[in-house]
């Protein structure tokens, strides 16, 4: 099978993956950050800086995706990951349904 690798579509594919990963890490970061904010440990000023930093991160990611024209690719990767995770959970919950059948007889 011939794979057509050109500079632009290779970049596309790899960048899409990288950005998807970065977004997922960013989401994890957000969860941690909000836990701290909710906990009341942080001062008003620290909250402000944290919020600002997260906002800057959001903006930066959006700009990269827009500039590189990969917004849809990134979404597709994340949707694909969702499907894979769904599939894994399904397999764990319904082993009967997913047991690989081997060819019987000849």
């Amino acid at each position: 099978m011939a794979i057509d690798i050109r500079e632009d579509n290779l970049k596309h594919g790899v960048l899409g993956l990288v950005l998807a990963l970065v977004e997922i890490i960013r989401d994890a970061l957000k969860i941690q950050a909000f836990k701290r904010i909710e906990s009341g440990i942080l001062s008003e000023e620290e909250c402000e800086r944290l919020g600002q930093a997260l906002m800057d991160l959001d903006i930066a990611l959006e700009e990269i995706k827009e500039e590189q024209g990969i917004t849809e690719s990134v979404q597709a990767v994340r949707d694909g990951l969702d499907d894979i995770v769904d599939g894994v959970i399904d397999r764990i919950a319904n082993p009967e349904r997913w047991r690989e059948e081997t060819k019987v007889g000849s």
């Binding site: 906002m55 800057d56 959001d58 903006i59 597709a76 997913w98 059948e101 081997t102 060819k103």
Partner: protein, 92 residues
């Protein structure tokens, strides 16, 4: 409302049923197929939502609205002009 069968969308409905369901024969009599994907994965993906597979929902709308506000704020911050009420209101 009348049920339909002959549109493109209902081909997906048919595939969901005919590929995955139906009466099951005794295993010792049957031809077995190794693994699950009987058909090219491409087929299922292609037919399960032809045009695009983008998952839109309010969460995308929310995110976009938030980001456009944030972007605006960032620009405003440099000019030190407060956000107008109307700009917040239009996101919801």
């Amino acid at each position: 409302m009348e049920p339909t069968r002959d549109t493109h969308a209902t081909l997906v409905d048919l595939l969901d049923r005919v590929l995955d369901k139906g009466l099951i024969l005794n295993a010792d009599l049957m031809i077995h197929v190794a693994g699950i994907p009987l058909l090219g994965v491409k087929l299922n993906a292609a037919l399960a939502g032809m045009e695009t597979m983008l998952k839109y929902g309010i969460w995308q709308d929310w995110d976009e609205a938030q980001r456009s506000i944030a972007a605006e704020e960032w620009r405003q911050k440099r000019k030190e002009v407060p956000l107008a009420d109307s700009e917040i209101a239009t996101t919801f």
